[in-house]
Structures are given as structure tokens and as C-alpha cells.
């Protein structure tokens, strides 16, 4: 059993292509100025379709997290205990990611993270978070 691999849609293909170049993209609305994630065809705040793709600096902080001991998807059994977090990126959008790396179990609300890319398959990289080591 293998872990789920994102299947890009016509809304998200550009985002996933950028991940393969190790770039994290988000959308900014040219009409209302709001930012949104996940990628969509139109702005969920004002319905405008005039959206710009913006590169994120890939820095943020942990809004909340959980340490999973019993995954519902058995493909994750080998990763236990693993961390799922909601990351607030500095540009003002939120994403779910795993906190990965040796220090992952010292995740805490407010801890700073940097985005890295995990090769989920040969064809698709996935954004993940690592704790910043310098305070």
C-alpha cells in the first residue's frame, strides 16, 4: 500500500508543477488583494477570476499540530509517530503539511518552520515543513 499522491486538476496543475521545481506558489487576487490557498479558478472572497500566482518565501509558523499514533490510512503505519501541522505561511495563507526531520516531535505552536520538498514519487514532489534550528 502506498501513500496518496496528489492528482493535479486544471486548477492546481501549475502549483504542483512548481513544487517539482521546489517553488511554493499561492494565489493573490488582483481585484480585492486577498490571498488564498488552495489554488482555485476564482477568488473565494470576491469571485474575481483575475488571480496572480505568487512565489512564497517558504517560511512560516505552526498554528496547530498533532502527533499521530494510529493512522486511518495504513500506508502511514511505518511513519508512526508522525506530525501533521497547519502551517501559517508568512505571506498570509495556511497549508497542511507534515513536520519532518529528526526534531519533528519537538513541534510546538508558534515554532518557525521552513518549507522543503519531499519526492513522493519520481514524478511529484510534495511541500513539507522542517523546524528552523536557529531561534
Amino acid at each position: 500500500m502506498s501513500k496518496p499522491v496528489p492528482v493535479p486538476t486544471t486548477d492546481t496543475a501549475k502549483f504542483w508543477d512548481a513544487c517539482n521545481r521546489e517553488e511554493l506558489l499561492y494565489q493573490r487576487c488582483n481585484t480585492c488583494g486577498g490571498v488564498q490557498f488552495y489554488p482555485r479558478r476564482s477568488c473565494a472572497a470576491c469571485q474575481s477570476s483575475d488571480l496572480a500566482w505568487m512565489p512564497s518565501r517558504g517560511r512560516g509558523s505552526i498554528h496547530s499540530f498533532t502527533i499521530v499514533q494510529r493512522p486511518a490510512n495504513r500506508a502511514f503505519d511505518g511513519d508512526v509517530p508522525f506530525v501533521i501541522a497547519l502551517i501559517d505561511l508568512d505571506e498570509g495563507f495556511r497549508m497542511m503539511m507534515n513536520v519532518i526531520g529528526d526534531g519533528r516531535l519537538s513541534a510546538a505552536i508558534g515554532r518557525r518552520v521552513q518549507i522543503v520538498f519531499e519526492a513522493r514519487t519520481n514524478d511529484q514532489k510534495l511541500p513539507q515543513a522542517e523546524l528552523e534550528t536557529t531561534p
Binding site: 496518496p4 488552495y38 496547530s64 486511518a72 505552536i109
Partner: protein
């Protein structure tokens, strides 16, 4: 005409492990019992609202159910909003009755998700409410998503895991007094704290059960002659929606249960302090804590402390989930939320036996679908004939 629809019949099957049943057989059993409870026959039913099923997934479950039971209603459809399905279907049934589209609407729910799926099957299917691109690749599950809410809530309000555990303990003590309940052995806060971690901070006993079971109610027009028994009216209903996926929720603290409850209270012309008994969706201990506070029954961060002080118990400020809830009575998919409705009807009829809340005239029922995503609230009341 708002507030004129009545709940004239309510019934549920036993819950727990029912290997002799399948999805349709248990739904039909609950439906027949609810029709009898309403003093009706199957020919009186002119509307049927069904829910969803994991063991018998179907594009047209309401039609499948009507065919199975031999019903030919004038209106039928399935309703799917996760844990808000039962309350939502009743809100819709009330509208059908109040607009005279139907006279007697059967609302039926049930699933054999414990014995009808392989071990872990229900949890794996539920995990698919996670976003396929932006959540599922990270191993999200429903307990993990609620754990994200729980940790942030504990952080914001200084609430401890023991406070949340007290909610599970209270509900088990109610379930111990219900002959149908799936889990009846008393538990302590220490038992909850020592149960194995599923997704920290949530432990096994913070999580709802997986049960077989079915439940049904009849929503009727007010002129129906239903004998001498107390009449139960749907006095108000409301909904609130902010997101589907937890990563897209505008807040991990404020959810649509606030708008849902405010709308239901306003339509019924009552306030939280008027409510005698509450049956509120409790997929996890954190679910109930967030909802109770969001709806105005307790201050922010106070629900767990209130449970610790016995305020959710039979003699407390707000007797809550008097059948044991999803945590201890049972959780059978859409029927999980319907068990709350059936218990509210029994409480308002004065028919809850040792669990009866003295003088219960006004009940509040709430369903939550997804990760605190889709909310529906009902205010039910015993009314003069």
C-alpha cells in the same frame, strides 16, 4: 407556519454489534417502529428522507430504501451532510410539512458500519473527507483533524486533557443507564488519560464509537391525531457553514455552530438558558466542548471544567447527551446524529426512565458534519395540544 411541524414518531434499533442485520434491514426496522410510534401505517407516509451509508453506498439511497420497504411516497430524496445529516433532514422535513408539500415525512438513517466493513474500514472511509491533494497526502484522518482543533483550543484557553476527559466520563455514566447503549461500563478520567493515543492530544476514549444501528423519526403536520401523548414541536432550526476541509477553516476556534444555534434560538424565540436538556453532536470530546461554548451554553474554555464540576450531569446546569452520545451510546453514521434526536423526543415525552431530566419541556439538538464544517441545530419543545 414556522414551528408548526411536529415530531410524532421516534424509534431506534439496538446499537453495537448487529451481525444479523444489513443497512436496509435495520433502517426498515427503525422506520416501521417510528411509524407505529406515531400511530400511523406505512400508507400514511407521503414523504421519505434518507441519509447515506458506507456499507451500501448508492447514488439514490432514498429510492433504494423506498423500494426495499415497498414505499411509494410523493416526495423522496437522500440528504448528505455528514454528522449534520439527521438534523438537516428534519429541518427539511419540517419545511415540507409547513409548506403542505407533505403530511407525514419519514426521516430514516442507519448503517452497519461496525460489522459490515473490515476492521478499520469506517475510519479509512471517513479519512476521505480530507482534501485529496492538500490533506490526504499528509496522512490526515478525522481524529487527527479534530486533534488540530483540540490542541489549538487547549493552547488558547488553558484547558487540560483531563478537562476534556471529564466529558467522556459524564457521557459514559448516562450510557450506563440506557439499556440500548453500546458501551455501558463506567470509566474514570484516569481511564481516559491512560487509553492509547490516537492523534495527540486525543486518546481512544476521547473518540466516538463505531456501531451498527438505525434510527428514524416521523415529522407530521399539526392536525394529525396522535393520541393523548405530549406533542413535540420543531420550534426552530438553523444552520451554519464556514468550510469543508480543516486546512481551509477560517478559524480553529470559531465555527458555524454559533450561527446555526443563534438562528435556531431566534426562530424558536428562546435563549440558551431556557434549554432544559441538550443532545449535541460529540464525535470527540473536543467537538462537544467547542460547540457548547460557541453556542453560548458556557464561556470560552469552560465546558471541560463544567463537565468536571458535574454541570453536564443529570442535576447540572445543562444535562447533556443523556443517552451517552456518540462517545458511549453509539455512532452509526447518519444515525449517530439521529440517536440524539430520538433521545430528545424521549426526554420531552418524559419517557427516558432513569435518565429522565425532571420537567424537560425544551430541548436543543445539534449535528456537526465534517471537521466542525456543516452545522444544523434544532429547538424542540413539548407544546399544548
Amino acid at each position: 407556519m414556522a414551528g408548526s411541524a411536529l415530531i410524532t414518531g421516534a424509534a431506534d434499533t439496538p446499537v453495537g454489534r448487529l451481525p444479523e442485520h444489513n443497512c436496509m434491514s435495520m433502517q426498515a426496522a427503525a422506520a416501521r417502529e417510528a411509524i407505529t410510534d406515531a400511530g400511523l401505517t406505512v400508507n400514511d407516509i407521503d414523504g421519505v428522507l434518507a441519509g447515506f451509508s458506507f456499507t451500501q453506498p448508492h447514488l439514490m439511497l432514498a429510492s433504494v430504501f423506498c423500494e426495499y420497504m415497498g414505499l411509494k411516497p410523493g416526495f423522496t430524496t437522500a440528504v448528505q451532510s455528514g454528522g449534520a445529516t439527521a438534523c438537516t433532514a428534519i429541518m427539511l422535513a419540517a419545511a415540507l410539512v409547513e409548506t403542505k408539500m407533505c403530511r407525514h415525512v419519514l426521516v430514516v438513517t442507519g448503517d452497519n458500519r461496525l460489522t459490515g466493513l473490515p476492521p478499520g474500514g469506517a475510519a479509512a472511509m471517513l479519512a476521505q473527507v480530507g482534501h485529496p491533494e492538500f490533506e490526504q497526502p499528509y496522512g490526515i484522518s478525522v481524529p487527527a483533524a479534530y486533534a488540530l482543533v483540540a490542541l489549538r483550543y487547549m493552547h488558547e484557553y488553558g484547558v487540560s486533557a483531563e478537562h476534556l476527559a471529564a466529558i467522556a466520563v459524564t457521557q459514559r455514566s448516562y450510557a450506563a443507564q440506557h439499556p440500548h447503549a453500546h458501551m455501558r461500563d463506567p470509566i474514570t478520567v484516569d481511564d481516559v488519560m491512560k487509553s492509547r493515543t490516537i492523534a495527540a492530544p486525543l486518546k481512544l476514549l476521547d473518540c466516538c464509537l463505531v456501531s451498527d444501528g438505525a434510527a428514524a423519526v416521523i415529522v407530521s403536520a399539526p392536525h394529525h391525531a396522535d393520541g393523548e401523548r405530549a406533542r413535540i414541536a420543531i420550534l426552530g432550526a438553523g444552520q451554519g457553514h464556514t468550510h469543508e476541509h480543516i486546512s481551509a477553516a477560517p478559524s480553529l476556534i470559531h465555527f458555524g455552530c454559533n450561527a446555526s444555534a443563534q438562528q435556531a434560538f431566534a426562530r424558536a424565540g428562546v435563549t440558551p438558558s431556557d434549554i432544559d436538556v441538550a443532545e449535541i453532536y460529540d464525535s470527540f470530546t473536543i467537538t462537544l466542548a467547542v460547540e457548547l461554548e460557541s453556542m453560548g451554553f458556557f464561556g470560552k474554555g469552560e465546558a471541560g471544567r463544567a463537565a468536571t464540576a458535574g454541570e453536564l450531569g443529570p442535576k447540572g446546569r445543562l444535562p447533556c447527551n443523556t443517552h451517552g452520545g456518540l462517545l458511549s451510546y453509539g455512532h452509526s453514521g447518519a444515525a449517530g446524529g439521529m440517536f440524539h434526536v430520538v433521545e430528545a423526543v424521549h426526554q420531552l415525552r418524559g419517557a427516558s426512565g432513569p435518565r429522565q431530566v425532571g420537567g424537560a419541556e425544551l430541548a436543543f439538538v445539534h449535528g456537526d458534519g465534517g471537521i466542525l464544517s456543516a452545522h444544523c441545530s434544532l429547538v424542540l419543545g413539548r407544546v399544548q395540544r
